[in-house]
Symmetry: D2
Subunit: 448 residues, 4 copies
């Protein structure tokens, strides 16, 4: 947790959710639920539940002291259980005997993490829904807004801003599907005791604990099998890759020399008093920052999956902070994308003007196609290529050069030629693609 | 492709599948299918199909020349299309005009890759099925084979080898589910033309091409949206993490000082003539190698998702070799796991003997539990802790120390004490967990 | 900063050094030095220095408010300068005009970071010195302590514990050399103004600011050239890889079944009341955790080097937290290594006993060599190989099997045979290697 | 090795250097040198050297067969030594007994790799020298070429193209220094035998082998200490990060809408017949590709440093292909940078024109400074800010708006105002910085 960086890189709720206090609270939630589940199963006396649950409030614990003790013990749960037991003992010495009954510290830490993940996935899904609605609206609004399509950072052929945004939208729908699929694998209880056999407890417990917490049951403990958890990280990295692509796109479009879209303005945001023309894409910086860090974070997490035997050494430790960070920056990036897409300023006029920057050269393919239909593709190709050379060399508009060419004029009359230089006439299936993309999300404007 | 390394790190089929020739062939398969689809749609003359398809055989192309030209052009498809066109032209100049009609090089390269991925996923799924069968059998065979559970690389409490293997099995079932879920997202056609609008082609084509190739249709081209492809990489890395965990486990169990399981022996495999006691875990080395490389490879791929505009610069290039490598080493690791688990030699006697290495200390918890039921947990704890200290200090077996303690003897009679030192009596839910794990896969020995 | 995790994963000083308050203080140190340097150069009035410097105390700033404003502005320096100016203004409105004169926010943030790096490198070097002293002592103390050398996790041939530790020592000397080499590249001032030209300031300043801060001067600003900073990260990752290797070694040697070395015991450290035999390698867990995370962190940092133009977008942001984290966990790992090596418990008796675990097979090469000198290598090889097979099959000691073989007895008399099974007789150059390693560090016991 | 991809992503020599044949040849070179060194030391008979050396030619070996056998044995050296021995035996059975005497396979593979690294570092250094010469020339040629400085992808203040290139140059000098520093650590022999003790050989050998190969000696074997090798990888990744920054810069400058610099044209390079205006930055794509892959490759290599005991399991295997790939793509990227910088087309006119795109707003700071000197900074700030707002709102040039403002006109006469809008008047220390950068490399045009 960082006062300086959290507001820039994550959301308030994610900063809190993976902060010290909530992390500890979720472990305490597991301890309380464990007592309830075991009492219900007759494993511990029902009378112990109240005394235990009453102390499961993080506000009553000294985080710094627990952290220091964890530095020796090797994880937070060990000193936490010790402190919890001591607190319960003050009120009810008998109940204190049943704190953490049959559990190992990893049961508490993993299940506590799963509770954090549940909230994190809910929040991410809500923002994904918000963003896919925003992209659907934006795509629909600009179905007929022509702009240059760019490949290899070069102008290629015209497209529409609607199609560009529909591509973003389409990817978001896939991410929502992925999130829904991984939920039942990730949101399960961990409960196996010291060696994963629930040896001191008998067979009761894991399922009841799952039910108590509203988590999924699982066939057996997964202390050493980390795929459930790390799949969430992979999802976050994949999503962040997509968001990074959005931010790259809009930051490039915001370049002073292109100026086609802008992040929404806000007081104190990205301006410069001495450089009044600047409009720093702060949102894009945050998202690109996340897209840079997420792959690295997930790489460490995949590598940490190689954990030894029943419970490993070091690999598990290597999950805690990186997984939290990854989800925090993913949430931060997603929130910035929501704000940006919802408030995006689109300069359709500048988009149109930028199409003309090459003086018609970007329409050469359209001319070639039309001419090709009349004189054969190869001949058309040669004619148009020659005209392009001339236009470039003389700094003239291709339409003008073509218009002066008698051979071409013989096949393409002036109004025909004019039409060929209208980018809206060469948008192919752009509109249809947008319609299909919007339709599949139960979108706002399905293809009819 | 490496003659020296491929047999060690991948399978023959995967070496071939992502080798130069098949890579080129898949692109040619797309060109042929494109001609068929476009002829069926009336976009190109039906008469061109035969002449084009006839040349779509990689054997007819000079790979080195295409590679050299790609070094200038920026990708393989550009010189390939040029060479294909030239070859078609020889036979049928008219047909040559319709080669690659309306497509951009990324359409061909991406769709060719998807064809490779289809086969790769089929092969991986087959080996996952094979491995999950092998783990189910092994887990079932060893449901009653006690061994030490180990945490933090230290002996903890007894478990069974069956439970350990059931944990592997359980993870594999999740991986099969993941693979099934991502297939429809990944195995789709790419067809959008130069700027993703199918500008020169009109709206026909993409769906027909998909049908022709047996791939999924998609709402719109995904040239710049790489999540479909990179999700496959994430899956491979996640799977490889799981496989690495298996290999870590079995290589640790193969240590000379532990000696509980062994990779199947084979002539020329892992032995040393001057060190006759050695049995190098070659399979584990290969799998751990993959588990080391996969996270790094996928990190690059996630990072490469940030591709500019309609088609990006450099990011797309950064997918080709790493994705192929990642799938190759994943397949190699999976194959080694299959061989190893199917032929694994299990030394149940050594497992049993290793439980006794601490002279009964690993059973202290069991004694504490039994004694606690009689004299209270805290008192039991103190008594047993004291006995453990004594046993450690004097290098004696804990059972003997306890047996001499009159207080303890008063509560636990010799046969009771003997029973408490039988690890099979302290396996908790191990058998039940195995049964549950096997049941969910439609397993061979479900819980009754 | 995390109360829960910092004591486990880093040192107190590193937690503080890269925490919010010191981070801000270092930026303020730069602002104060900038005022002094510019006054000395006559760029701003000398009278402004005192008023500015007086406010450059982080204690006077509201970190949370600055963090929130940074969320909009895009970095911490922007609101910090604003807040600093406001504070100066209260005391001296004229001086307030000269706060941050001619600087851009990246000048302040980068130079502040360099000040943090200077302290970090000093601290790391001190601990490297401490650790290399500890390894030199330990290596020297165990020059004559035989233990099994292990390759591929299998017992191979005998070595000495001294040689193993000398290998650690040798690597540490290289790391100290690297640190010394990169210092002058990394510890330089950043000062270029908005576009790196010091446009509004004229040519004075950068060198004076460097001198004022005791940092190196540099030819030109390096806002977009991040190699100076990221080289430090590469060093940290390389060092952490070495430390991880140490921790892997000692944690494997601590396995219950091997038991040759132990981390120093401490109350509350790694023990388990219910598993009295356990001695969790908490130090190793921390170091291995760092060795897992460091590669991923540095991967993100290398990737972030691709920063656009004069000052980039997102890449710079992606340095802040990962670089701090990387150095924090490196320091934590290094400190754990120091503690562990300084207090390492070595069980030379167990080392000796483990050499015998294979009943003499690990000495087969020694026998082969001695026999080969008499009957030829090939014949010796066959004879010994056969004896090994027999020894393995019958569970007998190789020396006994060989002793009963008349052919072998004819060439190797019993005392000779006994000598061949003394591992101390087959240590090759181990002692000499240790001497060489210790000598080069100006070590305690150079080869004579 | 890939016929399709190598010409795009690496150089011919690097493709060969790390290809199968040269890899094998370098191992054979080590075997031959080993025989010579051991004969000179009297460890093996001098008569064996010729027979052994005569067979150490990779052309005589069946690479595919060795690869297949390596698949079982676990590394290439095992079957190679077997095959070499068999070949020597045909000619001289006695000599065959001394092949690979006292060595372990890792000795051969590691030392063979070091030989490859020596050539690789030589080649990289040569291209670094070439590139730093090219950047020095380009920087010098454009010391007076004004262009927009851009930060956050927005136009900021003017700079010079010379200063931008000088920043590239300056970084290259640091990389050359790094390379020189790591050479003696990396280019050392590996020779320790099965457990690193040279047990069967006595103390002779390692130093002689080093001398024989022209490599550095080292204190002791480093089988398990991989920092020597991985430092090279870190260097390559750091360098590639710098090269990626160059390519990002020039590819952004090549955007159709900016058009300030271009990669050198070549037939078949990056053009498109249907999109005649396009000039794909193929070189940048290759370099950015490398900058994407290098961080991931090096992350795996850092992670692989955690190798167990005397010689590890899997980590070593994970070095082979990634290290080769990393150096190959680094070399490819470096070569593309050389070609590009040497042949870079610079459109100084377009650079100048782009400065005017904001109608003078980028010069607002200059005006503010000048006005501030007369009326105070704050008042100047307010005046100019207001004028900027007006200019933006009315789409007029800032100079015109200011010129009409009576208050401003009272302080800045028209010629003064004109001068303030000359970007060449606001370049600060740009020229001085270039001079300093060029001077330090013993450059062509040092500051006087």
């Amino acid at each position: 947790m960082s006062l300086l960086y959290d507001p820039l890189f994550t959301t308030d709720r994610f900063a809190e959710l993976f902060g010290d206090r909530v992390t500890l609270q979720r472990m305490l939630d597991v301890e309380a639920a464990l007592a309830r589940a075991e009492a219900a199963a007759g494993v511990i006396p029902a009378s112990a539940v109240g005394a235990i649950a009453a102390q499961c409030d993080a506000a009553g614990f000294d985080l710094a002291a627990i952290g220091r003790a964890a530095g020796l013990a090797g994880n937070v749960a060990i000193p936490l259980v010790k402190a919890l037991t001591a607190k319960v003992k003050v009120a009810d010495a008998e109940a204190a005997r049943f704190v953490h009954w049959g559990a190992t510290s990893q049961d508490i830490i993993d299940t506590g993490l799963v509770l954090q993940l549940r909230e994190a996935l809910d929040l991410l899904d809500a923002d994904l829904a918000r963003l896919s609605t925003a992209t659907a609206r934006l795509a629909d609004a600009h179905r007929a807004t022509p702009m240059m399509g760019r490949t290899w950072l070069q102008q290629a052929l015209p497209t529409t801003f609607g199609l560009k945004v529909a591509g973003w939208h389409d990817a978001l729908l896939r991410h929502r599907a992925r999130l829904a699929e991984l939920r039942p694998r990730a949101l399960v209880v961990q409960f196996g005791g010291a060696a994963g056999t629930l040896a001191s407890l008998g067979s009761a417990g894991a399922d009841r604990l799952a039910d108590e917490l509203g988590l999924g049951r699982c066939a057996l403990p997964w202390h050493g099998q980390r795929d459930r958890i790390i799949e969430v990280a992979g999802f976050a990295a994949l999503l962040t890759g997509t968001l990074g692509k959005f931010a790259r796109d809009w930051s490039l479009l915001m370049q002073t020399e292109i100026g086609e879209v802008f992040e929404p303005a806000a007081p104190g945001k990205g301006g410069s008093s001495t450089m009044p023309h600047k409009r720093n894409p702060v949102g894009a910086a945050v998202v690109l920052h996340a897209a840079n860090r997420a792959p690295a974070l997930v790489a460490g997490l995949y590598a940490a999956m190689v954990q030894e035997h029943e419970r490993g050494l070091g690999g598990w430790h290597a999950e805690w902070q990186p997984l939290a960070e990854l989800l925090q920056i993913t949430a931060g990036a997603l929130a910035r994308c929501c704000e940006t897409v919802e408030g995006m300023e689109v300069d359709a006029q500048r988009m149109r003007a930028n199409i003309d920057i090459t003086r018609g050269l970007v329409m050469a393919e359209a001319v070639m196609m039309a001419l090709g239909a009349k004189i054969g593709r190869l001949a058309a190709h040669e004619q148009v290529e020659e005209a392009c050379r001339l236009a470039l060399a003389e700094g003239r508009h291709l339409r003008d050069v073509l218009g002066e060419d008698e051979f071409i004029a013989a096949h393409l009359a002036p109004p025909q030629l004019d039409a060929l230089f209208d980018p809206c006439g060469y948008l192919g299936s752009a509109d249809r693609f947008v319609a299909r993309a919007l339709a599949q999300g139960g979108g706002i404007n399905p293809e009819t």
